[in-house]
Amino acid sequence: MELQLGLALPTTPFSPFGYELKQGPFHNNGSCSSSSSSSGGSNKRRGGFDEDTRVVPKTLRLLLWNTNQRNGEDDDPNDLDDHSSSAILKNGGEGLVGWPPVKAWRKKLRRHVHNGRANNNRMAAAAAGNNSCGGRAFSNSTYVKVKMEGNAIARKIDLSVHRSFESLTSTLKRMFDISEEQWRKSFKLAYQDREGDWLLAEDVPWRTFIRSLKCIKLVRS
C-alpha cells in the first residue's frame, strides 16, 4: 500500500466541527501523518470494516471520517484522541481519551453525585441502580449482564456471537420472552458504559456500543 504525502495534517487549518484547531509546533516524521494511529483503525479488528478505505491516502480518511460521522457509520468522536497531537478538538463532552487525567473510578462516582445533586433521594436511587453492573470483570469474557426493568433476575448474554443490533435484540426478545409487538411498543435497549453513564443503544453505532458497554438493560419506554 502506497501512502501518499498529500495534505500535511498538522499545518492545514481545518475545522471538522467548526472548532479551531490549536496547532503546536509539531514534527511530522516521514510520509506518514500521525493519524496512522487511526480513528478508524480499531474497527478493522472487529471485522466488517470497509476494506476499500485502506487504499485511500491517510489524510483523505480524515475527511471521510468527518462526513460519515453524522451517518453513524464510523467511530464515535472519542477516537479523535488517538490521532494528531497538534489538533485538540473538543466535542462538548469528552474529546480526548484519558484527559483530564481523572481516574475512571472517580469519574463514574462523580457522575452519579453530580447529576443527582439537587435531589438526595434520587441520587441514592440512581446510585443503587447505576452501580448494579459492577465492573466488566473478566477481560477475556464476552458475557455481559442483562436486566429487564421490573424483573429482579439478571441474565448473562454472550456478546461475541452478535454482530448487529438485530441479532442481539432477537436473542434478548427470546431470552425474556417478549413478543415482537411488545418490543416495538414498550421496550428500549439501554446500556451502561465504562464511565457509568446510561445511554440508549439506538443512539449509537454498533461498534461504539460494543466497545463501551458494561451491561445492558431493557427499559420500558
Partner: protein
C-alpha cells in the same frame, strides 16, 4: 584483616543484624557487599517489592528468595488509570499465585496494584497459604464477590482486606457472611469500591462487633447514614473510618445518635467516604475534627461555605482531599486553619465541562502555599495558572516532594502574559530540591524540559502531556534527570532521536510510556534489537505496526527493563520488538 572479619561472624549473627534492616533499598545494598552476605541476606529476606511484574519472573524471585512472607507487585502502567492501556494488555497475577502456592506455603501478605486478579487467583490464595494475613488490591480488576467469599471463608487469620479503588463484579452482597464466626482477627477492612448492591449489613455488623482489633473500616455506598451510628458504637477503637452514604432526610434523632456515636470514637483520626452528603449532618463530626489528621471529601458535593465550616474545626489536619467546590475562598480558610497541612489534593467536579463552574484558580493554591509551611504533596486541578503564581508557590514551599498540576484545557498559557509556563515550572524544580514526582500541564516548550534536566536531580517520576516542541525536550529529561525511574508521556512531539540517543538510560529506569508521540516503528525495532534487557512493546489496536512503513509513528510505546525477557501473555494488539521472540511468535 577483612578475611578475619568474615569468618568471625557466624551466619546467625549476620542474619540477626540484617533483621533490623527492613527497607528494600538497604536490603539490596546489603546483598551486594560480598557473596556470603548475598547468600545470608537472600535466605532471610521476608519482604519483596516488585515494581513491574514483568521485570522478573516468579521463578526467579522464588529461586533467589526462598523464604518470603510478604510480596508487593505492580502491573499495568500508571496511564492505565486513564483508559490509555487497552483491556487485556496484561498484568495477570495468577501465574505468580500458582508459583508461590508451591514455593511459599507460609506467605502472609500480598499487595497488588493495577493487576488483573481473577476469582481463581483468590481461591488459590485462600487454599494455599495457611497463615495468610493481608490482601491489598489497589486498583485491581477481574474478580467478583465470589472470589472475596473464598478469601473470607478460607483465610482463618485474615487481618487486612483492602480493595481500594478496585473494580469488583458485584454478584452478591452475601460474601460477607462467609467470614466464619471464629474470625476475630480483622484489623483493616476496606470495601469502599463495592457497588451499591445490597451488602449484607447484618453480617457486616456482626463481623465488626467481633473484631476488637479493627482499626480501619471503609464502607461502601450501600451503607446508609442511619446505620453508621450502630457500626461506630460497636467499634469505638477505630482510627480510620470511611462512611457510606452520608445523606438522609434530616431527623433530629438520627442526628443526635450520630453525634453520640462519633464522640465515642476517641481514636478516630481519619475520615473518608461521604458520598451524597447532606450538610446538616456534618456537625456530627465536630467532636472528631480536632483530632482529625486525614479527611477525604473528594466525593462530597458540598459547597465552599460548608467545607470551610468543617475544615475550620480541624486544626490538626495533615491530608485533605477535596473537590474544587472548595474554591479559592475555602483554600484561604484552609491556609489559616490548618497549619500542619502536608498533602492537598483538589479534584475537578466537572472535568469535561467547557465552562468554569467554580471559582477555583491559581490563587487558592498560592494561599495554601503561603499559609501551610509543611505542605509537601500537591495534586491540583484548575483552569488557569500564571508563571508568577508558580514562582511564588515554589518559593513558599521548597519542601515539595510531589507536585502535580493539571490545567484542564491542554496547552493553556499563562493567562496574564500569554506566555508558556516554562518559567513557572522551572521555578518549582529549581527551588524544590527534593522533588520526587512532577506532573506538568499547560503550554510548555522545550525550555521547561531544559530546566527539569538541569535542576530536578531527585526527580523519580515525571508525567508529561501536550508539551514540548522537539526531541530536544525529551533529551533534556533523559540526559539530565539522574534519579528518573518512571517517565510517562502523551501527545508530545518527541521522536526517535532523543529516544535512541538515550537508550542506555532506559535500562536505569523502571519504565517509559509514550503514546501519541512521533516515535517511529523503525526506531522501536532498533531499540528492541540493540537493548536485549529492555522489553520494547508497541501497542496498536488498529493494525500490526509492520503493515505500515517503518517511518510511521507507533500509537503507544511501553519500554521497561526486564531480566526475564519478553513476556508470553501479550494480547494480539501488543507487539514485542525483541528479535528472538518475533521469530518464535
Amino acid at each position: 584483616m577483612q578475611k578475619k572479619m568474615a569468618y568471625s561472624f557466624p551466619d546467625e549473627v549476620l542474619e540477626h543484624v540484617f533483621s533490623f534492616i527492613q527497607s528494600v533499598k538497604d536490603r539490596n545494598a546489603v546483598s551486594t557487599v560480598c557473596k556470603s552476605w548475598y547468600e545470608i541476606e537472600r535466605w532471610c529476606r521476608r519482604k519483596v517489592f516488585i515494581g513491574n511484574c514483568y521485570a522478573v519472573s516468579p521463578r526467579m524471585v522464588i529461586n533467589r528468595f526462598p523464604e518470603v512472607r510478604s510480596i508487593e507487585l505492580k502491573g499495568k502502567p500508571h496511564f492505565a488509570d486513564f483508559n490509555l492501556v487497552p483491556d487485556g494488555w496484561g498484568g495477570y497475577v495468577l501465574p505468580w499465585i500458582v508459583e508461590m502456592a508451591g514455593a511459599y506455603p507460609w506467605l502472609e501478605e500480598i499487595r497488588l496494584k493495577r493487576m488483573v486478579v481473577t476469582d481463581e487467583s483468590l481461591e488459590l490464595i485462600a487454599k494455599s497459604f495457611k497463615n495468610f494475613k493481608v490482601l491489598v488490591l489497589f486498583s485491581c480488576e477481574g474478580f467478583s464477590t465470589d472470589g472475596l467469599a473464598a478469601i473470607a471463608s478460607g483465610c482463618k487469620s485474615l487481618r487486612e482486606l483492602d480493595l481500594r479503588e478496585s473494580e469488583v463484579d458485584d454478584l452478591s452482597g452475601h460474601w460477607l457472611t462467609h467470614f466464619p464466626e471464629t474470625c476475630t482477627s480483622l484489623v483493616s477492612l476496606n470495601i469502599s469500591c463495592l457497588g451499591s448492591d445490597e451488602v449484607s449489613f447484618s453480617a457486616l455488623e456482626r463481623l465488626v462487633g467481633r473484631c476488637p482489633n479493627l482499626r480501619s473500616l471503609r464502607l461502601n455506598r450501600a451503607v446508609t447514614l442511619d446505620k453508621i451510628a450502630n457500626i461506630l458504637r460497636s467499634a469505638p477503637q477505630l482510627v480510620d473510618f470511611g462512611t457510606g452514604n452520608y445523606a438522609a432526610e434530616l431527623r433530629p434523632d438520627v442526628l443526635s445518635n450520630l453525634v453520640g456515636a462519633f464522640s465515642s470514637c476517641k481514636e478516630l483520626k481519619s475520615l473518608s467516604g461521604f458520598w451524597d452528603v447532606v450538610p446538616a449532618y456534618l456537625p456530627a463530626l465536630y467532636s472528631v475534627c480536632s483530632r482529625l489528621t486525614s479527611l477525604n471529601l473528594s466525593y462530597a458535593t458540598i459547597q465552599s461555605p460548608e467545607i470551610i465550616k468543617l475544615v475550620s474545626h480541624c486544626p490538626s489536619l495533615q491530608h485533605l482531599l477535596v473537590l474544587d467546590y472548595i474554591e479559592d475562598s475555602g483554600l484561604e480558610a484552609l491556609a489559616s486553619s490548618c497549619k500542619d497541612l502536608q498533602e492537598l489534593r483538589v479534584f475537578p467536579s466537572d472535568p469535561f465541562g467547557a465552562e468554569l463552574n467554580v471559582s477555583l484558580t491559581e490563587q487558592g493554591l498560592v494561599a495554601v502555599s503561603l499559609g501551610c509551611p509543611k505542605l509537601q504533596s500537591v495534586l491540583y486541578f484548575c483552569r488557569r495558572m500564571t508563571n508568577a503564581a508558580l514562582v511564588t508557590i515554589a518559593q513558599n514551599c521548597p519542601n515539595f516532594t510531589r507536585f502535580r498540576l493539571c490545567i484542564i484545557e491542554p496547552k493553556t498559557a499563562d493567562y496574564l502574559t500569554l506566555e508558556p509556563l516554562d518559567v513557572g515550572f522551572g521555578a518549582i524544580v529549581e527551588h524544590c530540591k527534593d522533588l520526587k514526582r512532577l506532573s506538568l500541564s499547560g503550554l510548555l516548550t522545550d525550555r521547561v524540559f531544559e530546566y527539569i534536566g538541569t535542576y530536578a536531580k531527585k526527580l523519580e517520576m515525571l508525567s508529561v502531556a501536550f508539551a514540548g516542541d522537539s526531541d530536544l525536550g525529551l533529551h533534556h529529561v533523559l540526559s539530565g534527570c539522574e534519579s528518573l525511574r518512571k517517565l510517562e508521556i502523551r501527545d508530545c512531539p518527541f521522536g526517535d532521536k532523543a529516544l535512541l540517543a538515550n537508550a542506555a538510560k532506559l535500562e536505569t529506569m523502571r519504565s517509559l510510556w509514550m503514546s501519541s508521540c512521533t516515535v517511529s516503528f523503525g526506531a522501536c525495532k532498533l531499540l528492541g534489537q540493540k537493548m536485549p534487557r529492555l522489553n520494547v512493546e508497541v501497542i496498536d489496536e488498529a493494525d500490526p505496526p509492520d503493515s505500515r512503513p517503518e517511518s510511521c509513528p507507533v500509537d503507544k510505546l511501553y519500554v521497561y527493563r526486564s531480566v526475564s525477557g519478553p513476556r508470553f501473555d501479550m494480547p494480539p494488539f501488543v507487539w514485542t520488538m525483541d528479535e528472538e521472540r518475533k521469530i518464535l511468535h
